[in-house]
Every structure is written in structure tokens, then in C-alpha cells.
């Protein structure tokens, strides 16, 4: 007798997209007519083990991991704990990649990844995970990052494939433009840029000044912790305001301008340097995504700086991704679903 499908259970499409970022890990998958995003802050805060502390965490329904003689609070609560203790959270990723020297944090990345991605729908399900482009301003070991994640996902039972973070933004947001344009992901550890023509990446790179850099610079300027600056940035920053700013808001405003100038200057320089500079006949669309592009007024700031720059391509429009925090995972799940459909 054929098995009856549970009534009301959404049909899960095959293929997943995973955005492994410095601040968040996001997994996207299709559930019937809906797309589901599971997000987890990629941070933890470790405290000394005691039965009392453990019980307190259980009663408060705080996610934790028991590791040797430590209790590691995972996720948003880690940031809250850090703010209470006026110290910093620990990040398994630094500047967008898993650091070879942070081996101790690797099991944490694996557990968080496992918790976010879950089990595959079937053994060998395709999962696309994001990786950064070559870094222009740092010596980053992206091979280690790539291979470590590949190993983790293979152990979970997936068939892992990689997608450049900037290209994932293009896949997510520029389908109507024939996957032609520039996708920029303003993350916390790095900013990834990809120029794509008909889904083919022509130029892709990253710079390692990003949201964390803004937090650190602003924190140093006003004598606060980066975690607290980050909390303010994510909750109440308004970049449309130029006057009547608090010291923290003024510092954040200055460093956002600096970051945008830095990214656009690198795009201009890469165009000048590349031997295969594309000649795209139509004005292109630039899409901004990522958590660091989310503060109110960021798009306007970007347009202002772009207008002052000697940008090498005609730009038709600059727009914010429909869901800036999710666009990389969304682009990755589009790639995965397209792959699965071929099977």
C-alpha cells in the first residue's frame, strides 16, 4: 500500500543554500510555496560550568553547548551576555573565514551549522554554501575555510558545492536582468563584490573592512565595546540623519561613509587593472545586501558616494536587496534547486 502523505505537510523541495558569515549563518530551503530561512548568530560566549548556571540556562531556554568545563551560550543570547559582562563575544569566523588558528572554535561552527542546516532531505542532497572572493587587502586562507566547511557538510550527508558570495546576491536579485549586474554583500567580516554577465562572474573580490571594522573603529573613537556599538547599529542607527547625532551615531556615520568609499575605490581600481574588462552595452543594476547594508539610509549614502566616484560602468539603478540578510542564502538555494532539477 502506498504511503499517504501527511495532510497539510508542506512539500520540501530538494536543495539548500547556506550563507556562512562572520556574524550569521543562514540556511534557505523551499517548503512548498514558501521559502524558509533559518538564521543563527555566529557567536558564542563561554562561562565557567556550574550546575546552578546550567540550570539557569535551561530555565531561561537559552541555547548552550557543554564543552569540557565550560558552558558556551550560543546565538543572540551570547551578545546579551557579552553586553552584561561588558566584554566581547567569541566569533568562530574572523574577517569572513574560519581561521586556522581558531581550531578550538571549529566544533562550535560545526554544531551551529548542523543546527541551522539540519539533516539533508536525502543522502547526497545538494547544498550550495557561500565562500568569499579573493581578498584584495589581506592574506586570507580561503582554501582552509572552503575545505573545512566542505568536510562538515559532507559529514552531515550533503553534496556540498560552493558559490561566490557576490554571485549569490546576483542570483538572488538579478534574475529579471538576466543575471547581469553587480552584487555587493556588505557583511560583518568582509564586503564581497561580484560583477556578473549572464550568470558568469567576470570580476569577483572581497575586502576585509566591513561591519566589524565599523564597530571597532567607532568603539575605539568613543571608548565603548564593539559589541555594544554593534547592538546600537543594528537596533537604531539612522544614516539619513546628518545633524543632531550622538557621539556614537556620529562615529558610525563617518565610518559608514568611509567603508562605502573604500569599496567603490577598490571596484574602480580592479576595473583599471583587469585585462578582461567587460564592455556591457546597457547600464547595469547594482544590488546591495548583507547586514551592514541594513541601517536606514544606507542606500542613499551609497548613491551619494557613487555619484562622486569615477565609476567605470553606466549604472541604471542601485537598489537594496529584497531581504538583505537573506539574499546570499537565497541565491545559494536558487543555484541548488536549479542543480537538483537537473538530476
Amino acid at each position: 500500500m502506498a504511503k499517504k502523505k501527511a495532510k497539510g505537510a508542506p512539500r520540501v523541495e530538494k536543495g539548500k543554500g547556506l550563507d556562512v558569515g562572520t556574524a550569521f549563518i543562514v540556511c534557505a530551503e523551499q517548503h512548498g510555496e514558501k521559502i524558509a530561512f533559518r538564521t543563527q548568530r555566529d557567536a558564542f560566549f563561554d562561562i565557567e560550568y556550574s550546575d546552578f548556571t546550567k540550570e539557569m540556562l535551561i530555565n531561561s531556554k537559552v541555547n548552550y553547548i557543554e564543552k569540557d568545563d565550560r558552558l558556551c551560550v550560543v546565538g543572540n543570547e551570547a551578545l546579551e551576555f557579552a553586553n552584561i559582562f561588558h566584554t566581547e563575544v567569541r566569533r568562530p569566523l574572523s574577517r569572513g573565514v574560519i581561521s586556522p588558528s581558531e581550531k578550538e572554535s571549529l566544533p562550535m561552527v560545526e554544531l551551529i551549522t548542523r543546527g541551522v542546516a539540519g539533516k539533508p532531505a536525502y543522502e547526497g542532497e545538494t547544498i550550495y554554501f557561500s565562500i568569499p572572493g579573493p581578498a584584495l587587502d589581506a592574506d586570507l586562507d580561503t582554501v582552509y575555510h572552503h575545505k573545512t566547511l566542505e568536510g562538515m557538510l559532507t559529514r552531515l550527508g550533503y553534496t556540498p558545492k560552493v558559490i561566490n558570495e557576490g554571485l549569490a546576491v546576483v542570483f538572488s536579485e538579478l534574475a529579471k536582468e538576466g543575471f547581469t549586474g553587480i552584487g555587493i554583500s556588505f557583511g560583518s567580516g568582509m564586503v564581497n563584490v561580484s560583477l556578473s554577465y549572464m550568470s558568469v562572474p567576470i570580476l569577483a573580490f572581497c575586502v576585509t573592512k566591513a561591519g566589524d571594522w565599523i564597530d571597532q573603529q567607532a568603539a575605539a573613537a568613543v571608548g565603548e565595546t564593539a559589541s555594544r556599538i554593534c547592538a546600537i547599529k543594528e537596533s537604531s542607527l539612522d544614516l539619513t540623519k546628518r545633524d543632531g547625532l550622538s557621539r556614537i551615531e556620529a562615529a558610525l556615520s563617518i565610518y559608514h561613509d568611509n567603508l562605502i568609499e573604500y569599496v567603490l575605490a577598490h571596484i574602480v581600481r580592479e576595473f583599471e587593472r583587469t585585462e578582461k574588462a567587460p564592455s556591457i552595452d546597457k547600464p547595469i543594476v547594482i544590488v546591495l545586501s548583507g547586514g551592514s547594508a541594513m541601517p536606514k539610509g544606507f542606500l542613499q549614502r551609497f548613491n551619494d558616494v557613487l555619484a562622486r566616484s569615477k565609476f567605470p560602468l553606466a549604472v541604471r539603478e542601485v537598489r537594496l536587496a529584497s531581504q538583505p540578510l537573506y539574499s546570499v542564502a537565497r541565491g545559494a538555494v536558487i543555484a541548488a534547486t536549479a542543480d537538483e532539477a537537473k538530476k
Binding site: 540556562l57 541555547n63 582554501v143 536549479a338
Partner: protein, 235 residues
């Protein structure tokens, strides 16, 4: 000494002056699958030889912290390289995690590196001496010519390659083999590590569902890819 010499060679290798693969064929190997289709060859770089040397200096057995101090590398990176060397059979784990012992293969690699390096630098020295001698003789011959007013019987100045072959008495240099590939073999740092820590969760994170609008994008991407594949097949 071994490490300093290899570092010097690596520097020269980067500038295209020498090919480390020719000088140290038994030690320095590009990573990749062996010709027999067996397991991947393990490449040994200068940092790894430095680790082997540090362990040898400690009497053949050393812990990650000791090696880390001796080599000036972080303990995380030393541990990573030691796992890599263990996989290659150059080291084995003893007593407890994090303490490594040099295996006979590791000893042999160090010995071979020392021998090859001695041979190379000795040949370099002899070659330089021969060149200097030749230049001095030619200078003398020129002086005699001008003083005597007739040519002195000296063979023409040999090419560098001839001098090297003659002076060292070694077999002629082999043709440059293919370029040294960047090391791409990789040991998964979590392989064999127990990550079954007690967690208070199975799934984690905030779940947000929105109406899916990716269908068109998936179809467009699939068509684009299919078109490209068709085009490639036609070509």
C-alpha cells in the same frame, strides 16, 4: 641549517633562479594523486621540515607546544601541520594527543634533505670556484697577450653550464620538469575530532518563512545553464 637552506632555495625558486623540485626531488614533491592511482602524495614544505627538525632536536618525540615554541608558529598551525605529516607517515602519535614521534620515514626525509642540500651547495661552491679560476686565467692570458704581443693559448671561456658540468663532474642538469604546483592536499582539521558535545538544541536559530518567489529565477538559471551546455556540446 636544513630549514635555512631550504628557505633560501624557496626564495630562489620564487624568483625562478632554481627549481626546488630538481634539487630535492625526494623531499619536495607537488601534491597530487600518485601515478599508480594510489593515495595522494604528501608534499613536505619548509615549515613541515622545520617541524621534523624540531622534533629530531628534542630526541625524536615532542609535544605541540614545544614544537610551536621552537618553530615560532602558533600551536594551532603546528597541530594542523603535524596531523598532515602524520597522515603522510612522517610522524606518529605517542602516549597522548598532541605528542608526536618522528617515524623512520620522517627521519629518512630529514636525512635525504640534508644530503641533497649538502650536495647542491657543495656543487654550487665548486662551480663558483671554477668560474672564478677561469676568469682569473683569462685575465692573466689577456695581460700576457698585451705584454708578449701574441695570443696566449687559452681555451675560450666556457659557458656556465659547461663549467658546472666540468667543475663538479656531475651528470648534466636535467630539463626543468613541470612547474611546482601549489600545495592543495588538505587534511580536514575536524577529522577524527569528537564534536559530539552536549548541546541543549537539535535545530537552532530563528525560522522565518515568506512566500517563495524563486521559481522564475530557478527556471531562468536552469535555462541559461542548459543553453551554455548545449552550446559547448555543439562546439
Amino acid at each position: 641549517m636544513v630549514v635555512a637552506r631550504i628557505r633560501a632555495l624557496e626564495e630562489a625558486n620564487l624568483h625562478g633562479n632554481v627549481d626546488v623540485a630538481v634539487i630535492l626531488p625526494q623531499v619536495w614533491k607537488p601534491a597530487g594523486r600518485s601515478a599508480e592511482g594510489g593515495p595522494k602524495e604528501i608534499a613536505v614544505t619548509s615549515s613541515e621540515l622545520e617541524i621534523l627538525t624540531a622534533i629530531q632536536r628534542e630526541g625524536g618525540v615532542a609535544g605541540v607546544t614545544t614544537i610551536s615554541v621552537a618553530c615560532g608558529l602558533t600551536s594551532g598551525y603546528v597541530d594542523y601541520l603535524c596531523r598532515y605529516l602524520k597522515r603522510g607517515g612522517y610522524l606518529s602519535l605517542v602516549r597522548r594527543p598532541g605528542v608526536y614521534e618522528l617515524t623512520p620515514k620522517g627521519e629518512a626525509a630529514l636525512g635525504k634533505a640534508t644530503f641533497e642540500l649538502d650536495r647542491y651547495f657543495e656543487a654550487q661552491g665548486q662551480s663558483l670556484m671554477a668560474q672564478a679560476l677561469y676568469r682569473a686565467l683569462h685575465a692573466l692570458a689577456s695581460q700576457l697577450e698585451s705584454e708578449m704581443g701574441r695570443p696566449a693559448a687559452m681555451p675560450p671561456l666556457a659557458t656556465r653550464r659547461e663549467i658546472e658540468g666540468w667543475a663538479v663532474g656531475a651528470e648534466p642538469l636535467e630539463a626543468r620538469p613541470e612547474e611546482i604546483a601549489i600545495k592543495s592536499a588538505f587534511v580536514d582539521p575536524l577529522e577524527g575530532v569528537d564534536v559530539e558535545m552536549e548541546a541543549s538544541f537539535d535545530r537552532i536559530g530563528n525560522l522565518e518563512e515568506t512566500a517563495s518567489d524563486i521559481g522564475d529565477a530557478v527556471t531562468a538559471l536552469r535555462n541559461l545553464k542548459a543553453g551554455t551546455e548545449d552550446k559547448e556540446q555543439e562546439e
